[in-house]
């Protein structure tokens, strides 16, 4: 965006320098505005979680609390089965991520190296099935799960979640595998390696970055999921943090007004793991998210 040299602008050096300074000023103003808008909700949730309850409900609101407390977190742990929900969320997100990536990798390999009639149609089925709204499938799924005894089952929830993120993962994986040269795999097969050996010894080592990327992205998406746990987890043994947060908001035993103190503490606890993942794996995540969209 910077004008380093501009032969077309036949202006005096001074006005040129002024224009440049002004442009810089506008740019940094834009950056500051952007940071403010993006970070304001985080600032507020974070600050609220350490603000004593009596200071939270003041008019006008205090942008900076005069007192800091950890009591909100203590309240949270004593009012809801916080650690149970945390473990449930971790299990749900890890397994959903693992299985979605495993199944996607296998399918993507078949589709990327497709040499059979109908492979385009199968790929299309994956993509078009993204358009079937998750909410519109819940009633039949509930009926099915009830008859299979899968309500409140971790296994059942992981199946649903892996399936939900499959199409996107397959799409990204296909575009990744297609970039790899096919010759090595062919050579290995000629030398008598079977399919499992080709996949494990040759393909997996090369697509490791893509696998790691999709595992991280799918973990984040599953960690954030609300709808499936909300419908299919009805006991403390399977409920996740997102359900816990929603329940805090509607719990009548909390009295009038919402327990913002505990809700913000729960929010911060829920954001923390994804924040760490984003900071550590920024590059991988960006490459994974843009791979399917940019060809």
């Amino acid at each position: 965006m910077m004008h380093k040299s501009s032969p077309a602008h036949a202006t005096s050096p001074l006005s040129y320098r002024l224009e440049r300074a002004f442009n810089r000023f506008l740019l940094y103003l834009g950056v500051a505005l952007f940071l403010f808008v993006i970070l304001l909700p985080f600032y507020w949730i974070f600050v609220s979680s350490f603000t004593p309850r009596y200071q939270m409900f003041s008019i006008p609101p205090r942008w900076i609390p005069t007192e800091v407390t950890l009591k909100n977190y203590a309240n949270l742990a004593s009012n809801i089965p916080f650690s149970r929900y945390y473990v449930n969320s971790l299990i749900f997100a890890s397994f959903s991520s693992f299985f979605s990536v495993l199944f996607s990798f296998l399918a993507a390999y078949a589709l990327a190296r497709a040499r059979f009639r109908g492979s385009n149609i199968i790929f299309l089925i994956f993509i078009v099935s993204i358009a079937i709204p998750q909410i519109g499938t819940l009633v039949p799924l509930f009926e099915l799960y009830k008859s299979l005894g899968l309500i409140n089952s971790r296994f059942g929830m992981v199946l649903l979640m892996s399936s939900l993120i499959l199409p996107f993962t397959v799409w990204t994986m296909v575009s990744f595998i297609q970039q790899l040269p096919e010759e090595i795999e062919e050579a290995a097969r000629i030398d008598g390696a079977n399919l499992a050996q080709v996949l494990w010894r040759i393909v997996v080592p090369v697509v490791k970055p893509a696998i790691a990327t999709m595992i991280i992205i799918n973990f984040i998406i599953s960690w954030n999921e609300l709808l499936y746990p909300l419908v299919f987890a009805t006991s403390t043994a399977t409920k996740t943090l997102s359900v816990g947060l929603v329940e805090l908001a509607v719990d009548p035993s909390m009295g009038a007004g919402r327990p913002w103190d505990m809700m913000s503490a729960l929010s911060v606890s829920m954001i923390l793991p994804v924040l760490i993942l984003v900071l550590f794996f920024q590059r991988l995540i960006v490459s994974g998210l843009t791979k399917g969209a940019i060809k």
Partner: protein
């Protein structure tokens, strides 16, 4: 694998051509079998959790299915007659469309703007780009909860901010128009960074000598944007726009957590209606009928989007 057949041809490509011949040899069969085995888990899961329920919904929509009162009765189009008189559904249809179109337009606009910002060079750019990822990464539930708290009429900091800036007390969550605006703002905040990310990647693929050439020719910044930048990223803009429309038509978390559809039915969307009918009232049949309306909406808007997409693909 039968390696004897492969060694008779000298390139993989030629080998493929060999396999595709009408005569179905043993080798072809083993290839088909391998592909089939690799596809079974993924395809099976999709059929079981998405395609099967999709078709099952059409059947349930014609019944009074209620899990508390079995068995279900076939009631024909009764659910649809009931729906036509249901104020909650009709206002949800209109707000769903407004919500999706307005959100998507704003997300595209700000997405391009933010991408341009993140593509220019300034100090601390790496940090700002990392910050841009955060709204995408956090749960929608947390964002929705945070925004509800910030838009609160008495204790909210956005209400406080707008009061300080404009001197007006904006009743964000207690009036119909205010709540609609608040929900759309929260939604735009949550998804714009993702779009910006995709557009930024597209911008980085634009060769810089194009900009050099434009500058030499004396093009100003607006001309450069509309004549060079936009046409080069337009196919991404339209693709993502289409994706966001289809995806946001079924968005549930935000409305459920932030407003519960209120005040009244002001911010109720179809997905919220479906959830309430199914798991609030146990009217599975009725919920399925509303689901069909959502399917039709996805089909129409997705179809229109695809037509637009084709046009852009042709003209550029």
């Amino acid at each position: 694998m039968d390696s004897g057949t492969i060694s008779s041809v000298d390139s993989p490509r030629q080998a493929i051509r060999e396999y595709r011949r009408p005569r179905i040899s043993k080798l072809v069969w083993s290839r088909y079998l391998a592909a089939f085995l690799l596809l079974v888990p993924a395809l099976g899961l999709r059929l079981f959790t998405s395609v099967y329920p999709f078709f099952r919904t059409f059947y349930f929509a014609l019944t009074d299915y209620n899990p508390a009162f079995p068995p279900l009765q076939f009631t024909g189009f009764e659910n649809f007659v009931r729906m036509s008189k249901d104020l909650a559904v009709s206002s949800s249809v209109s707000f769903t469309i407004i919500f999706v179109l307005l959100s998507t337009l704003l997300q595209l606009f700000f997405g391009v703007l933010v991408a341009l910002l993140l593509n220019s060079s300034f100090r601390g750019r790496g940090f700002v780009r990392a910050v841009n990822l955060i709204p995408w990464a956090i749960p929608m539930v947390v964002a929705a909860m945070g925004f509800r708290w910030m838009f609160d009429g008495e204790y909210g900091i956005i209400t406080d901010l707008t009061r300080r800036l404009t001197g007006l007390d904006i009743p964000w969550l207690t009036t119909s128009i205010g709540a609609k605006a608040a929900v759309i703002q929260a939604n735009v905040w949550k998804s714009t960074p993702f779009l910006a990310l995709v557009f930024l990647a597209a911008l980085q693929g634009v060769p810089t000598d194009l900009y050099e050439a434009a500058r030499v020719d004396g093009a100003n910044r607006l001309q450069t944007f509309f004549k060079i930048t936009l046409p080069l990223i337009l196919s991404q803009v339209v693709t993502i726009g289409l994706f966001m429309i289809v995806w946001q038509l079924a968005a549930f978390d935000l409305v459920y957590t932030m407003t519960g559809g209120g005040p009244g039915y002001a911010t109720s969307v179809l997905s919220y209606n479906i959830y309430q009918a199914a798991f609030g009232g146990l009217n599975f049949g009725y919920a399925s009928a509303i689901s069909l309306v959502l399917f039709v909406l996805v089909f129409i808007m997705g179809g229109l989007g695809l037509i637009l997409f084709r046009r852009v693909e042709v003209s550029y």
